[in-house]
């Protein structure tokens, strides 16, 4: 069991931190990027550095470390959405031909895939209902497809006989795109007799889809964790320097105690989320193990994440409300990640369904 990272991992962290720290060296730089299309700017360099190949060539640990660095600068690049999730699914479900055709292209940044799995008003259910597949064609509507416009390959979950299949689509669909509150874009995608090719054998792939979503949840949680840590740092820095009533804010005990509470939550979240990655990285873990770990990590984002995000704004006062200052964007990103990976009720329900699996829940094996 290991909570420390090795030298090679440390180098990866430094490299990613250096790269995204340059591209997004200020809140203003990030804002400028998210205003323009497609809303992210570090992609080619991430590809060059090999970050986009991590899900295919390294373990969940490296993926999480990279995601956490992206979270620290709230990089808008769709690493988790496109690489971990869509890329990961292609790599796990695709035929050998599909993999050899696509995986390298994705890792090199030439192909940007996204997964279209959510459907209107169906929460975070992975089972496809609205979109159906038959005779080589897709019909129906997917919602909240992150970066659908920029993507050149959609992986679409669709109802098939006997379950939920996965299909590749490159053309023939309509998107209605909106800005997300955290500076990204997401689309409602409508398929009307859209030509589609099966990913893998075209049969039920619900289990693989769920597993990929859980791995993505864990990576997302690290992204949120990075953002939470920096949101607290910024807040602590503000309390030390901002003066009110003739003294710096850190003279107000009620405020410093709230910062202390944020730190407590952050450290507990760091532990649980890191543990989830250790589970994901372990070859002996079953998909059920990973699902539970993902839910524990997601609960931290839903609770500690929201707590830290909102108190970071409150402790700043007015300046925290402005788009010109960074902390609101951190809050928005933490919130958005929570919305992508499932809310508190969703994950509590998932865990409650397995409440009888153990007497004591012990993180050590």
């Amino acid at each position: 069991m290991e909570f420390t990272i090795d030298t090679e991992q440390q180098s990866l962290v430094q490299a990613v931190r250096g790269l995204v720290g340059k591209t997004y060296d200020s809140s203003e730089a990030r804002r400028a990027v998210t205003k323009a299309e497609p809303g992210f700017a570090a992609w080619d360099q991430l590809a060059e550095m090999g970050v986009l190949s991590l899900p295919f060539e390294a373990t969940a640990a490296e993926v999480s470390l990279a995601a956490e660095e992206l979270g620290r600068v709230i990089a808008p690049d769709p690493f988790v959405e496109s690489i971990v999730l869509a890329g990961g699914l292609i790599n796990s479900v695709g035929t050998d031909e599909q993999k050899s055709e696509l995986v390298d292209a994705i890792a090199e940044g030439q192909t940007l895939p996204v997964l279209a799995w959510l459907e209107p008003n169906r929460g975070w259910s992975a089972q496809a209902v609205s979109v159906t597949y038959s005779d080589g064609k897709l019909n129906g509507v997917k919602s909240t497809v992150v970066q659908a416009d920029r993507a050149d390959l959609l992986v679409v979950s669709a109802a098939v006989d006997g379950g939920t299949g996965l299909f590749l689509v490159t053309d023939g669909y309509a998107t209605e795109t909106e800005r997300t509150h955290d500076g990204s874009r997401a689309a409602t995608v409508t398929f009307s007799d859209t030509p589609a090719v099966a990913l893998g054998d075209g049969g039920d792939a619900l289990a693989a889809l769920k597993h990929a979503l859980n791995l993505a949840r864990i990576a997302y949680a690290h992204e949120a964790l990075g953002a939470m840590a920096v949101a607290l740092d910024i807040t602590v820095g503000y309390l030390k320097t901002r003066k009110q009533f003739g003294v710096t804010l850190n003279k107000f005990q009620a405020l410093t105690f709230r910062a202390a509470d944020m730190y407590v939550e952050l450290e507990l979240a760091r532990s649980a989320i890191t543990w989830a990655t250790i589970v994901a990285a372990d070859e002996g873990s079953t998909p059920e193990d990973v699902a539970a770990a993902a839910s524990h990590a997601a609960l931290q984002v839903a609770r500690a994440g929201r707590h830290i995000a909102l108190d970071a704004i409150q402790l700043h006062g007015g300046i925290g409300m402005t788009a010109e200052y960074s902390v609101g964007h951190y809050a928005s990103r933490i919130l958005a990640i929570g919305q992508m990976i499932g809310d508190e009720t969703f994950h509590l329900d998932r865990l409650a369904a397995r409440i009888d699996d153990h007497t004591v829940l012990d993180p050590i094996g």
């Binding site: 959510l118 008003n121 929460g123 509150h181 009110q244 006062g317 919305q339 809310d343």
Partner: protein
Amino acid sequence: MRLQLSPEDQKFREEMREFFTTQIPERIRSKVIARQELSKEEMVESQQILNAAGLAVPGWPLEWGGKDWSQLQRHIWHEEMQLAGVPQPLAFNASMVGPVIANFASQELKERFLAKTANLDIWWAQGFSEPDAGSDLASLRTTAVREGDEYVVNGQKTWTTLGQYGDWIFMLVRTDPAAPKKQQGISFLLIDMTTPGVTVRPIELIDGGFEVNEVFFDNVRVPVGNLVGEENAGWTYAKFLLGNERVGIAQVGASQRHLATAKEIAKERGVLDRFASRIVSLESELLALETTALRVAAHSDGGKPHPASSVLKIKGSVLIQAVSELLMDIDGPAATTSWNSRVFLNNRKVSIFGGSNEVQRTIIAGTILGL
């Protein structure tokens, strides 16, 4: 079962409800109910309809358009207005500068401004907060130096809500930098925003909207006749103004309406069971909040703010935020693009602006509990 109103108040309530739901255009009210932003024109239109019926500024002195209502009636007026989705009369006019002018300004200023203020012919902006002051309002730095018949104003204000629409701005300015206490030496000045040297810069908020502004003053020359009351007595008027916002401070009606919307949406989408506990829990808290507002109204006298106003401000803001969080959460993953998330982010302001909840706790601990 509900608290029984007297037949008289019952009738009053029905009249209000009738007026608000029939006289204010549905196109305006439906925007309010959908929590969309109103245009300046829509806000003016609505307030002028209210004013024509004598319903825009009931809290003012009778001679300037006020009403001889009980506190309960003012509560009902406000509650019904919010439930009907009627935009409230612009607070800067109706609750802030209007009462200050009516109470402290010269007869000349009253005649010049009050009617137009009630009718929103003049849109007032508020020039109190400054970048380096924050909650510590009295440490403001904007100066007004008298030169003959004019003040020359230099400095910067910030968090000026809807200042981009402002015709005039009411200001706290420092007229005596040598005063022994920072609360002394502050004056209350009215400035035409078209005067040379006034610059408004909108500030984008975290929800992407523009509703607050910075306002810069660069050698702005203001006639001394625009001074309200006495020079260097502005802090008194400011405290009066800040304490004046009692009725409606908790925004219960709006929260109730949004909660009803949440219930409706959850039902439509088949997720009522998932959110039922949160909904009834918030309904129960709003019931406690509204009954508290009624208690405060019933025990207020002479227009002096009840110390429990801070209770209403804290809990009111917490519940506004909780209801908007619920609406956002009902959207599930679609919340990433939904308007409800933007409203939720925007609503972080309600526990910050207008005296943060930390300031309110300080007031409760000090003034009420004597700590």
